[in-house]
Symmetry: C2
């Protein structure tokens, strides 16, 4: 028989996945607004943000209720903490999508320019990292979470490459300097989204293994 | 007589303030590295980051121990959660300082340029916001925390102004385009630091008032 507390933990996980779905949706809308230069899709990102913020609050209150309900075991405690932190990260993924959408609004006020920046590829990897981190959360799969960590470097490198390429464009084709500038800012936002995916993956590993893998601290077991 | 739990809460607050001190130090070093074009100060930011990451982990473990120790009252629970979240924000303030220092390293490889961007003023306000949010944490002063929230708009506006001014510079004086670009990125980092100060202030208000003020949700009391 499941206790009320265990049921609460399941509900919490379900809510976090719903939150993840909302964040992913915002990222997807933002990418498509960029690719198609569609202001209506930017608008949808702004609208989705309201829902994301509401869901963030709900999850925090649910987590607080669970912590108040009884003295949780160490692994449940780590799970609740992982949810609280991942929740905050997903909300910030939503913020980054808003930033991208705002930048796309700026970008499409200028003529379309062919730029040597593969934003869709960067977006695709970042979005996959979020999805994979959430899958690791559902299944409690630390190995899957570990893979997310390893992909963060790829996105960091792409961001750096785009910065260098756009800096070159600004010098060589000043007539599209603004578009290059916006592209740098958008790349930076995707790089932040990948960072949040990394944070979530670290939280999963901490929850499952009781180990702190942040900042390359290895698999030091937590004494509990 | 103070219980072990209450003593633990005091220790946790002390540790968070120490963490705040480290984050402030990184921001201060980053600003000075920018103002004086001093690579050694950038190096110190990178070194301080190691200490910040260590302290973040210590605080998380202490908070987890306290949650495991007994069934905390609602206000203590909110306090512990506020610490966990603010801790993560302070760690990211350190990350932003690292980003600034990396950007300064890039910047000083190019000739110094007179740019119409008051980074020191923006840095000063952001650093003050962090300090004020931490003061609000020490004293449990929700009014003080409220003031931090109100200053966030000022920093957002400065960031936007710097973006517009640097975009203009890039077009008018392409020979200093790279420096203008770096300045945009640095301004963005300070804007993020102010965001983190805002997050911490919101956590203080949530702890003290039991109210969720995020995303302009007003003072809805939490049912506890």
């Amino acid at each position: 028989m499941r206790t009320r507390f265990q049921q609460g933990l399941d509900d919490l996980k379900g809510k976090l996945l719903a939150m993840g779905g909302l964040a992913e949706h915002s990222v997807d809308l933002a990418v498509r607004s960029y690719q198609g230069r569609v202001p209506e899709l930017c608008q949808k990102v702004f609208e989705n943000e309201v829902l994301i913020n509401m869901t963030e609050r709900e999850i925090d209150h649910l987590a607080l209720d669970l912590l108040a309900m009884q003295q949780p075991m160490a692994i449940d405690l780590r799970f609740i903490l992982a949810v609280i932190k991942s929740n905050a990260d997903l909300e910030r993924v939503g913020d980054q999508a808003v930033n991208i959408a705002q930048r796309v609004m700026d970008l499409i006020a200028f003529p379309a320019a062919e730029l040597a920046a593969d934003i869709p590829e960067m977006a695709s990897i970042s979005a996959q990292m979020i999805r994979q981190a959430l899958e690791a959360f559902v299944s409690g799969n630390a190995e899957l979470a570990q893979e997310v960590l390893e992909r963060d470097d790829v996105v960091d490198r792409m961001n750096q490459e785009i910065f260098v390429a756009m800096d070159k464009t600004i010098h060589e084709s000043p007539e599209v300097a603004r578009q290059a500038l916006d592209t740098i800012m958008i790349a930076r936002n995707f790089e932040r989204i990948a960072d949040h995916a990394t944070n979530i993956a670290e939280d999963v590993i901490f929850w499952v293994r009781g180990a702190d893998v942040r900042h390359g601290s290895g698999l030091t077991p937590v004494q509990k």
